[in-house]
Structure formats: C-alpha cells, structure tokens
Symmetry: C3
Subunit: 135 residues, 3 copies
C-alpha cells in the first residue's frame, strides 16, 4: 500500500528549521499502515529536510550560524536572485529523509526530530510525504 500526502507550512524567517514530526506522525496514523516507512521530501530548491536534536533550541542557532559561516549570503554570486547560498545550503543538507514505521509508529532515535530547513524564507512551502507499507 502506497499513500501520498502533502504538508503545507509557512516559514517566518530567512533561515530556520521547523519540526514537522507531529504532522508526519498524524498523517502516518491516518493511513493505518502498521509496518513500512515514509519519506518526506521538500518540493523546493532553497529549502531542505534534515533530522536533528529536538531538545535544546541552541542546536538550531548553532546549526544556522555554522551554515551561514560556510556559505555566506553574498552579492557577488552569478545568480542574481540573491539566494545562491540558499540553493547550496539546501543541496548540502539534502531534500528528503527516510523514517521507518513499526507497529503503526514512526521510528526515530530518542533525540531525533524531522526538520524542514528554510534557507530563503519567509515563504509558503510544500513537503511531499510518501507512506509505504502493510496494515
């Protein structure tokens, strides 16, 4: 059984991550799939998806400072939209992530959440969610 779904979110800063684990859990539970996995994928080119710590908000602060240090927003890029850094950051972080489903629940490590990573907000964004498995 394969089900497709979509998560819509609004970001409110240029660079931030948003925990989409609750939405994923909700959609997975509605499918009634007990054993399988799901894949969450960003449908954009300046926003990615990653997994990271859900406990201390300073991890997010450090993460985006580190990325800004690595790939600064500059005016000297060839692409004239002012977001070449965002395109590169998204490819470095990646556009999709995979989560196993067991006994109807998604399997994440104790400290793991799934984060949508905005690198060129604020914007309205879409995440595709594919859930595959058996009842």
């Amino acid at each position: 059984m394969i089900k497709h779904s979509e998560i819509n979110i609004n970001t409110f800063k240029r660079c931030q991550w948003i925990d989409i684990t609750p939405q994923i859990m909700h959609i997975v539970s509605e499918t009634n799939i007990k054993n399988g996995f799901c894949i969450a994928a960003s449908l954009h080119t300046t926003a990615g998806i990653t997994i990271n710590e859900n406990a201390d908000p300073d991890v997010e602060r450090d993460f985006f400072n580190i990325l800004e240090n690595l790939v600064p927003k500059l005016n000297s890029y060839y692409h004239t939209e002012g977001n070449s850094d965002s395109h590169a950051k998204a490819s470095l972080v990646g556009f999709s992530t995979y989560i196993p489903i067991k006994n109807g629940k998604i399997i994440l490590g104790t400290w793991q959440s799934v984060y949508f990573c905005e690198f060129d907000g604020p914007r309205n964004r879409k995440i595709s969610l594919t859930i595959l498995g058996e009842n």
Copy 2:
C-alpha cells in the same frame, strides 16, 4: 512491483552537474507504474546526486564555486589520487535522491530537476534507478 534500471552518462568536465530528469521520466513511464516512487543512486564515490534549480545556469556555476571554496582541490591530502576533495564533496551532497510517482508521473517542485553531480570527471558514470509501486 519493483524494477531496477540503470542510466549511463559521460561527463565532460571535472566538476559539473547533469540534469537526469528526462531519463528518469522516460524509464518511469516505461515501467507503467502509476503510483509509487523511484530512487536514483550514484554508483561512484566521487560523484553524487542532488536536486536543484533547472532555470538559471548560474545556479550551477555558483554551486560548484561554493563547493570548491569549501573543499579545495589540494595536493596536501593524504590520499594520493588527487581527488580527496571529490570524495568529500560527494558525501556532502549525497549519493541518492528520492522522487514520488503519482498518476504515472514523477512529482517534483516547479523549479526542481534531479542532477548527477560529477566531482572528478570527465568519466563514464552509472546511476542505479529503482522504481517501486503499483499499476
């Protein structure tokens, strides 16, 4: 239903990306799978796969300049083949990407294409494509 296929390409520069979306669309349509997903994976260690913008070629130029800035090709690495930067760039960008299939068509965002990322060309390269789903 699970089908495996392979895409063969020749790269012609040391570092470049090549849009493999047309090949993926063609192979997916030949499987007759209407609902599912596919995964494209690089079978190399100095070439990865990513998603990025398909409109302005300057995004590619900036992307590879940014990566070259981050991980320069140097002679001072321990690995003596002169491509330690390529190995690192490939791991940073990643080796596979995931694309949903709905109504027989791959689902990508408006500006998204799937790119094979060559970091140590020119070479002949192979991409594995797995398509899973139902008719």
Copy 3:
C-alpha cells in the same frame, strides 16, 4: 515484504567512520529478499551515514580533516554540550542511505562501502535497517 532490523556498533574515537557493509549484506541475505532495496538510517543526531571509498584508508583521514576544517569543534557555540560541530556534521553528511537489492545481493559500485559516521564518540550506536522487496 518489509523487514526491520537493527545494527549495534561501538565507536572508539570522537570522529571516525565504520564500514557497515558486511552487516548489511548479512541481514539482507537472512531475509531471503531477492529483489528490492534497503535503507540504513542512523538513530542519532551526532552520527550520520554515508557511502564512500573502501580501498584506501587515507580517504577517511582526509574526509574527517576536511569536515573538521569546515566545522571545527569550538567552545564558542551556544549549545553547551561541546558537540554543536557534531550535530552540523551529521546533518551535512545525512542520516540515511539507500541500497538496491538484485538477485539477493546489494548493489554497490566497485569502490563503494556504506559507512556509519561517528562525530561525537566513543559511544554505543544503533542503525535501523529496513529491507523491502520480494522473494
């Protein structure tokens, strides 16, 4: 058919990679799945999974030096556990990787192995393995 399994490993340095290809091959062969794929996922936030060269150990040395250069372990991060670099490195490398299965064997390129990437060891770590396919 979908099977979940887990790989447990002990790392012995702060930063290192460990080739988990033999464990993956063993678990895949025990499932009797002949055609399909598997996904290996790190259940942590300071350790990722990648693919890279299995021939010259200097590739690992260069890889971790390059990452340390990009994201140094510093005391000046906001997150006070001393491992903000580890969180960022894991998100850059990614948390999961995908491997096709054909004729009962995993498909990797000639030089490819699957590596668990420890960025904050030594620790006991868990990798989730999902194998999907048909006999």
